[in-house]
């Protein structure tokens, strides 16, 4: 697959942004500055960037609970996202919903729910809408290895298969669902094979190789736009940190974590771009500097943003009725 240097650089910038954003917000979380749950995505950046790069505005995505990279790539303003994480009135969710489950139809961002796996039929319904509306947009849906054991996974993928819906299911397989390793939750190694049971292709990719992820996604998107139906893409990756701030991660060995850190997707892509002479020290530093500045600015914006008013509680329950 041919990708321009400009695109490659853009992708790299997103990888770095994703990494730094997650690290930075985790620090803020530890400082008690953020509201709600946050599940750091560090180590899984290649999935975000490889799947979301180059999507159209009228394509939808629904990210998972883990990480904010996909939101940002789909077009959520980083300041608004940060303000949401700070629980501010102008941020994602505006204090009513959590920042990580807020949606925005204008940029094709579908809100999930806090229930693992329940988003799968919701995205599938958006794909059904696209088909009924005779559009060539595509829905991208994200979920974890753990989510693939929910009944909703089965019901939705089966429906998408039989109705040939324009959707790409992306499984962020990071080997664990909270403390439970994949081997304890299913008797198979490759979740992708489940697609066979729904009559469409299931593909495995190295989830730490952004270009492999990108290529697989683009193929699936073309297929979906042509009306040929869904694809399931399983991206094998790993989360470096605990499930959430409360999780010391006692269920896995230091060696295992270290081995995966060796396969760092950001460094790997950086090395590749250096080899291709697209990146050098100066450029890398520049990317990090700009990304850091962008994030710092977002934090400043969030910190100076207004808190919600208590009475905001009562808004937006119904489209017509008032509390």
């Amino acid at each position: 697959m041919q990708i321009s240097d400009k695109d490659l650089l853009q992708m790299y910038r997103w990888m770095v942004l994703d990494r730094v954003f997650e690290e930075k917000t985790f620090d803020l979380l530890k400082l008690g500055k953020l509201v709600g749950f946050h599940h750091p995505n560090v180590g899984q950046e290649a999935v975000d960037v490889g799947t979301c790069y180059g999507l159209r505005k009228d394509d939808t995505i629904m990210p998972t609970h883990r990480g904010k990279g996909k939101y940002l790539m789909k077009g959520v303003d980083i300041k608004i996202m940060m303000a949401g994480m700070f629980g501010r009135r102008n941020g994602s969710g505006k204090g009513r919903g959590p920042a990580s489950h807020s949606g925005d139809n204008s940029i094709g961002l579908l809100a999930g729910t806090g229930l693992i796996g329940s988003g799968i039929p919701i995205s599938t319904g958006a794909a059904l809408a696209m088909k009924l509306q005779k559009k060539d947009s595509v829905a991208l849906h994200f979920f974890g290895d753990g989510a693939s054991n929910r009944g909703d996974f089965h019901e939705a993928l089966n429906m998408a298969g039989v109705m040939k819906l324009p959707i790409v299911y992306v499984c962020d397989n990071n080997c664990y669902a909270m403390s439970v390793p994949q081997s304890c939750a299913m008797a198979i190694e490759n979740i992708a094979i489940r697609a066979e049971g729904y009559g469409f292709p299931g593909i495995m990719v190295d989830g730490n190789d952004v270009l492999a992820v990108y290529e697989a996604t683009q193929k699936a998107i073309v297929r979906a736009r042509k009306g040929e139906g869904p694809t399931l893409i399983e991206c094998k990756t790993y989360r470096w940190m605990g499930h959430s701030i409360n999780d010391p991660g006692v269920y896995r060995s230091a060696e295992e974590v270290a081995a995966w850190k060796e396969k760092c997707p950001v460094r790997r892509f950086e090395n590749y771009l250096r080899e291709k002479k697209i990146l050098n020290d100066a450029k890398v530093q520049d990317v990090y500097k700009k990304v850091n500045e962008e994030i710092e600015e977002a934090v400043r914006f969030a910190e100076s943003s207004p808190l919600p008013l208590p009475e905001d509680t009562l808004l937006d329950v119904y489209a017509d009725l008032k509390n």
Binding site: G97, N105, T113, G125, D316, D320
Partner: protein, 328 residues
């Protein structure tokens, strides 16, 4: 006015709304053909031939995904009418009704609407036993974000369903299966809309208010007849919409009569009647001159045998008995 059955009224509403708005589509099991006339009950009769299989979609047996995909399609510009064949299966679609549909607008902080209707056949009286006969409205009336509707007459069914489809909120629409082909009444042709959230005084009276909905309205009307023969003037009030509940009409009636019986087919304990009773006990307390009575089913599953089912179901006689207890 021409008379049609309850299910024909439902069917007419679907025909009219699908013709009016091409974003409306039907999604459920056996809705296309079913037993030959659209679904097991005929509610979707003629829709597939008229609007094509693209807009009248047979699904796999996947209640959770029927509900969940409908939420997604509603978020993305469609106005799905999802059918859950029996309301007992609401339990399977529960997550997407209470956690997805009901909360989306809030999660979006007002930047989205979720115009989906979940239709489902509820109620007992047809010998369908414990897993096909429940009245589960109380499972979802404590869930902010949903509207909950249960019509009692063919005309209300048509007018409320049309409104529900046009509503920008998720609406759970209970259709009592006992009424489907058994109740035939005048129904206005064409545009006939009944606003959600408005109760209807089905009969006026000064001595006693009976509040009843679903198949129980018929029983309340019969009870009113019986009581009238003994000189008791009964007001029969049909809330029609449970969420939002028309508090004013209820309170007005009770303030007038001072006595109230609340009737529903679900078990009394834990049923929606509790909400109505609590409302009255707080807001019309000083107008009450007798205990608030509730008449509902006993605290058991719906039995299979018709003999047992008859014993189980609330009816006019049980309402009259309750009335006599508070009319003394």
């Amino acid at each position: 006015m021409r008379e049609i059955t309850f299910v024909e009224a439902v069917n007419e509403a679907l025909h009219e709304e699908m013709a009016r708005d091409e974003r409306v589509y039907i999604f459920g099991e056996d809705v296309r053909v079913g037993y030959g006339k659209g679904g097991p009950f005929g509610a979707t009769n003629g829709l597939a031939t008229r609007f094509g299989p693209e807009r009248v979609i047979d699904t796999p047996i996947s209640e959770s995904a029927i509900a969940g995909t409908s939420v997604g399609a509603a978020l993305w510009g469609m106005r799905p009418v999802a059918e859950i064949m029996f309301s007992d299966f609401l339990a399977l679609a529960m997550d997407h009704i209470v956690n997805s549909a009901a909360k989306m607008r809030y999660a979006y902080a007002g930047e989205a609407t979720v115009p989906v209707v979940f239709r489902m056949a509820c109620g007992a009286g047809v010998g369908a036993a414990l897993h096909h006969s429940q009245s589960p409205e109380a499972w979802i009336t404590n869930v902010p974000g949903l509207k909950v509707v249960m019509p009692s007459t063919p005309a209300d069914a048509k007018g409320l369903l049309k409104s529900a489809i046009r509503d920008d909120n998720p609406v759970v629409f209970f259709e009592h299966k006992f009424l489907y082909s058994r109740l035939r009444e005048p129904v206005p042709e064409g545009e006939h809309l009944i606003p959600l959230g408005k109760a209807d005084v089905k009969r006026s009276g000064e001595d006693l208010t009976i509040i009843a909905y679903g198949a129980m309205l018929q029983q309340a009307m019969r009870a009113a007849d019986l009581l009238n023969q003994e000189g008791v003037k009964v007001e029969v009030l049909d809330p029609r919409t449970l969420v939002p509940l028309d508090r004013e009409t209820i309170l007005q009636s009770v303030k007038k009569t001072g006595k109230v019986i609340i009737v529903h087919e679900a078990p009394t304990f834990g049923g929606f009647g509790g909400e109505i009773a609590a409302l009255i006990a707080e807001e019309a307390f000083y107008s009450l001159d007798a205990p608030i009575k509730r008449v509902g089913a006993p605290f058991t599953p719906v039995p299979a045998s018709p003999i047992l089912e008859k014993f189980y179901l609330p009816n006019a006689e049980k309402i009259v008995k309750a009335a006599k207890e508070i009319m003394e």
